[in-house]
Symmetry: C2
Subunit: 242 residues, 2 copies
DNA sequence: GCAAAAGTGTTCGGCGTACACCCATGA
DNA sequence: TCATGGGTGTACGCCGAACACTTTTGC
């Protein structure tokens, strides 16, 4: 157990942690512009006690990296991510008092995710206005935001922040919140329509002005490249060849 | 069962390794088309003994990740890379007999790099035709190649494979070797000229037909984004807060 | 009817591609 | 003078940006 080794980790021991930067969207009130938020946990133990930090924990020797990331996510938010990707391995000598290599993941949650009722020491923060965090976590979040903004430009990642049914305005507002600038509704419509990732439904969202058509995400299309090919066993291509 | 010459590591111990995929270019003879090559080392110890593997080693507890990558590179090739970037952290439970998390880097060497005379158990391999490698190293090289091909499309990374002075044809051949397709010399010229990354010199390469102007790389421009902003010590935000 | 968002049409400029063409050198 | 690669000019097509315009609802 962890507490045991805490007394005196030998000088040559390197420990492996897994943390996750979890992005979601929140609006102050319905109709208000959305902003990017992420959950942080308050540290209750020795290094940086009292500061907010990324959710994470020690990697178990029998646990896959991605499983560890999902676990920390479930433990803090109680929800499953719509997207999960490795971000970077942070391992600078000076980033903690003893030597820790953190494999950091980043994840997306669909808009409207709620923290469990009994969540203690967990809270949502506006990604653009973070307090000083524990360790190098400000640095890590900045990099995750950079990756998010980057990836939104060449992938369909933004869908990971939306519920199953959404309007084109919903989707556009996701892009606007991430990129922090306004987009032309007319051009935006054509771009996503031509991308082949949206399935129009017969349903409309009513309530204000002209009703907007609801769309569904085309599950056949991957949200984005998530890193090295997963599961080298049976892909569609290999199945067809056999 | 695996025979360990060392005392068996406890079941809950996770060890951290650093490996590097090092790309360079080689031509069978001057003027011949270039191909992407990488150095591999033959394993002389127990797991996968005799198989070729990526150069690497255990991370020292007092050693920065990137330093460890550079060290393995120097130990095998005796040369300094022109580019070095973290690729991915591979940590699947089944990838080794005991639990190893490998922080893998990828690097570029300028064309013409020579292995040291006394190099034993090290050899260059054509990246497109690798034998079965130790562990998941075939998988890792494939991913590094994907990243290389990708990055060549939106960054100036290809310069990292060339010497200080080069012709536009040299540079074009780098792209052609990486992308494995021919490029229009006329259009290629305009694209790189407009990118502002090349400094024309007054020198020409003579020897065959019309002499070609030699160019130099503009050092003011970074080859590419290499990951999280380096030097995490004093960020603007933390300075202001203190 | 009016405001406002949904949705369509049109124009313009940049940029990548294709390709014709001229230039300079070695043999 | 010819072959060959260096280097220039030009036309086409696509796509993103800008923006005018029509449609459909709530009030």
């Amino acid at each position: 157990m962890v507490i045991m080794t805490r007394t005196d980790p030998p000088r040559d021991v390197i420990r492996v942690a897994v943390s996750t930067v979890i992005f979601s969207l929140r609006r102050d009130r319905p109709g208000a512009p959305a902003s990017v938020v992420l959950p942080l946990v308050r540290r209750t133990r020795n290094p940086h006690e009292g500061l907010w930090a990324l959710p994470g924990g020690w990697l178990d020797a029998t646990e896959q990296l991605e499983t560890a990331a999902s676990r920390t996510l479930a433990e803090t938010t109680g929800l499953a991510p719509s997207y999960l990707e490795q971000l970077y391995a942070f391992g600078d000598v000076g980033r903690s008092s003893d030597r820790v290599v953190s494999i950091v993941y980043w994840a997306l949650l669909r808009e409207g995710a709620q923290l469990p009722e009994d969540a203690e020491n967990v809270a949502w923060f506006d990604a653009a206005h973070l307090p000083p965090l524990a360790f190098d976590h400000n640095h890590i979040v900045e990099y995750a935001l950079w990756r998010l903004r980057n990836k939104v430009g060449y992938s369909r990642i933004a869908h990971g922040l939306l519920p199953d049914l959404f309007t084109l305005a919903d989707l556009r507002e996701v892009y606007e919140a991430i990129l922090d600038r306004d987009l032309d509704p007319a051009n935006f419509r054509r771009q996503v329509e031509n991308s082949g990732t949206l399935i129009p439904t017969d349903r409309f969202r009513t309530g204000s002005h002209r009703p907007a058509r609801l769309y569904r995400y085309n599950q056949d299309v991957e949200l984005a490249e998530r890193g090295p090919l997963r599961d080298p066993s049976p892909t569609r291509h290999q199945k067809a060849a056999s």
